[in-house]
């Protein structure tokens, strides 16, 4: 009797614990179902997809140039690198090349985003493990980088600064000065973080020998970036398949030996120093010249060239030449204000009271029946017909050319050659790959994103089993995942 009761009291069984999706240490909405025996992990089942927004499906419905802002929303911690990855891939698909200066600027901002990402990673990783102070130190420098972003593009988080064929605008001199000052100070700041945790006994106990993965296994699991290099595999896309200006700068790639959490931490710390070095070299070597490829088909047209038509003070009127209009109905369908009316196969007319002067009809017309009449707003139809007979001023014809090109670019998007390609770039988290299948239209037939966080999250069970519950947090931190990128 007593024995039976004692058995009941000391009965052990496996517990099933739900960690997440709203857990501060999971860096987003990651849910882990843990089977634990005492405090030891027996089984881990990750559940992802809470942030799934269907970026791949959306990409198929947008032109190559419209899909760029979607890439910011993947890895929002280092949006700059994601943009660069997308731009490099699309440039290769179209066969255009960014000018030299743009390539160097992209390398600079790419490495800045690597530093910013690793700072955020270090801050949160240390916070998860229990070192609170590092968080405050890291955010001081990250703030500086975000301020620098603001200086060049006005945004801090979702930047969309790199463009297909270059970058949005040239960098100001004060940005370069401030960045130079940053690179001078930053190595001493890294030392500050290291003083806090590098030899800290608690930190060493929590990271050494935790989440060990051998080189062969790490490759087999598809790990990339610092997570792979911590295991001692020298795989860095910046060296293996150089893009932008990485073949023109000198830098080393830190690799670990043990493949544990501590080695991956050391790799990232050394990587920040290398990024700092790359930025300094790029500023020194920064060539002069344009920052956007001279490919009118692939870029937005300069605004001032279209001003004779688009400026609000010009008060244009649009008028249909009755002799040229074939009554095809194209403009009628395209008009957003529904100001065009008329029967099929007969000349159409514009209701001037409804017209918005948006020029859509002008661009749509294939028979050149549309006429732009400067200063014709609010005049009667008879008066307009009278004015339309006069020859069109030259500046208007020139501006109209740009306007047509602008519409073609924005509304349809340039057509990509038929084919398929996979282009990978090294983002702070690992290998970001874009796989495009093009069927020759202006939109990708299939846009595939190979997100490093997704693959790293899949590796979590391998890293956690056999460790304690507290080490799960260290494992989530060490693979450096962002769920926005993981779920896409």
């Amino acid at each position: 009797m007593i024995r039976k009761e004692a058995e009941k009291i000391f009965e052990t069984r496996e517990l099933n614990v739900n960690m997440g999706p709203q857990h501060p240490a999971t860096h987003g909405v990651l849910r882990l179902v843990l089977d634990i025996d005492g405090e030891t992990i027996v089984k881990v089942t990750p559940y992802v997809g809470y942030l799934h927004r269907g970026i791949e499906k959306l990409g198929e419905s947008l032109s190559y140039f419209q899909a760029l802002p979607l890439t910011d929303r993947m890895d929002y911690v280092s949006a700059m690198s994601n943009n660069i990855g997308y731009c490099v891939a699309v440039e290769k698909l179209f066969g255009i090349e960014a000018p030299e200066r743009a390539k160097f600027i992209r390398t600079i901002v790419g490495e800045m985003s690597r530093i910013a990402n690793h700072l955020l990673w270090l801050a949160t990783h240390a916070l998860d493990i229990g070192a609170m102070t590092v968080f405050l130190y890291c955010f001081r420098e990250r703030e500086w980088i975000l301020d620098l972003y603001e200086m060049i593009c006005g945004a801090r988080l979702t930047v969309t600064y790199p463009r297909v064929g270059g970058v949005r605008n040239d960098v100001p001199q004060e940005f370069l000065d401030s960045l130079w000052k940053f690179t001078e100070e930053f190595p001493s700041r890294i030392l500050e973080y290291e003083t806090l945790i590098d030899q800290n006994r608690i930190w060493l106990l929590r990271t050494k020998g935790i989440g060990v993965i051998s080189a062969e296994e790490a490759v087999s699991w598809g790990m990339t970036g610092p997570t792979l290099r911590g295991s001692g595999v020298p795989y860095d896309i910046r060296k293996h398949m150089p893009y932008d200006a990485y073949d023109k700068v000198e830098f080393e790639v830190p690799i670990g030996t043990e493949g544990d959490t501590y080695d991956r931490y050391r790799c990232r710390m050394l990587e920040m120093r290398q990024s700092n070095k790359i930025i300094r070299q790029c500023i020194e070597k920064l060539p002069t010249g344009p920052v956007m490829a001279d490919e009118p088909k692939f870029t937005l047209q300069p605004k001032d060239m279209m001003m004779p038509i688009t400026h609000p003070t010009k008060e244009m009127a649009y008028f249909i030449d009755e002799k040229k209009c074939k009554g095809c109905g194209m403009c009628l369908r395209a008009c957003p204000a529904k100001a065009i009316f008329g029967e099929k196969k007969k000349p159409h007319k514009i209701d001037q009271a409804l017209c918005l002067q948006c020029a859509t009809c002008f661009v749509t017309c294939k028979f050149k029946a549309m006429k732009i009449i400067p200063g014709g707003k609010g005049l009667s139809d008879e008066k307009l017909a009278e004015l339309a007979a006069a020859p069109v001023p030259e500046e208007i014809t020139k501006a109209a050319e740009y306007l047509v090109r602008q519409f073609e670019f924005v509304k349809k998007g340039p057509r990509a050659p038929e084919g398929e390609l996979y282009v990978a770039t090294e983002v702070p988290k690992g290998e970001l790959g874009f796989y495009f299948v093009s069927d020759g239209s202006g939109k990708p037939y299939r846009m595939r994103l190979r997100a490093p966080s997704f693959i790293h999250a899949g590796c979590l069970p391998r890293l956690c089993i056999g460790h304690l519950v507290a080490d799960v947090i260290a494992a989530i931190g060490t693979i450096d995942i962002v769920l926005g990128e993981c779920d896409r």
Binding site: K92, G95, G222, V253, P254, T257, L270, E420, G433, Y445
Partner: protein, 193 residues
């Protein structure tokens, strides 16, 4: 200190991808359907029966040694090609720095293909995603479940016949119209600060 900085040289890639395609042709002469090239990237289109032996050969051969599975995905060629699906493997060799793409045709009426998880452990989640998005079944996969979409989701979103936009809110939930009407009724009581 355990972690060291190494200098990785930038040197050209190992084997020419065309030579690799030739090697696959030699090894599996009746399996290769076509070799396509675009922007220096070569893809080999193969039949699906022998896909695991082909990939195992590419992974294990000491001169090829494709140890890194960069990406595994699928493409839906609805009304474009006779055989609807294609599963795409992007392979890379970290040791020799060469790459190749293998495309496998999978028909619509029997969307099944053997799993490559025994070769690359990382293929696990890729294949689950493929199943989730395209409905391609990977036989002998250890744990084939939906991954990004909820488990009770109907349809496979990345198929071309799956609509981009969902139904309008009033069609999806009949109560929506009721709420809309009620908000109009009660508009006069709205507080205007």
């Amino acid at each position: 200190m355990a972690v060291t900085e190494v200098r990785i040289s930038i040197h050209p890639a190992g084997l020419n991808p065309k030579d690799i395609a030739e090697k696959i042709k030699e090894q599996f002469p009746d399996q290769v359907i076509e070799v396509a090239e675009f922007r220096d990237q070569v893809s080999v289109i193969v039949k699906r029966d022998q896909i695991v032996p082909i990939l195992k050969y590419l992974h294990d051969d000491p001169l090829l040694s494709f140890d890194h599975l960069q990406d595994l995905t699928a493409v839906d060629y609805l009304n474009k090609k006779d055989i609807r699906f294609e599963v795409v493997y992007n392979l890379y060799s970290i040791k020799y720095r060469h790459k190749i793409r293998i495309r496998v045709q999978v028909p619509d009426n029997d969307p099944k293909i053997n799993s490559v998880v025994p070769i690359w452990a990382g293929a696990n989640w890729h294949e689950r995603e493929c199943f989730d998005m395209f409905g391609i079944v990977f036989t002998r996969h250890p744990d084939l479940r939906r991954i990004l979409m909820p488990e009770d989701w109907e349809g496979h979103p990345l198929r071309k016949d799956y609509p981009l936009k969902g139904p309008a809110p009033e069609n999806e939930w009949p109560g929506f119209v009721e709420v809309l009407n009620r908000s109009k009724e009660l508009k006069e009581f709205e507080w205007e600060g």
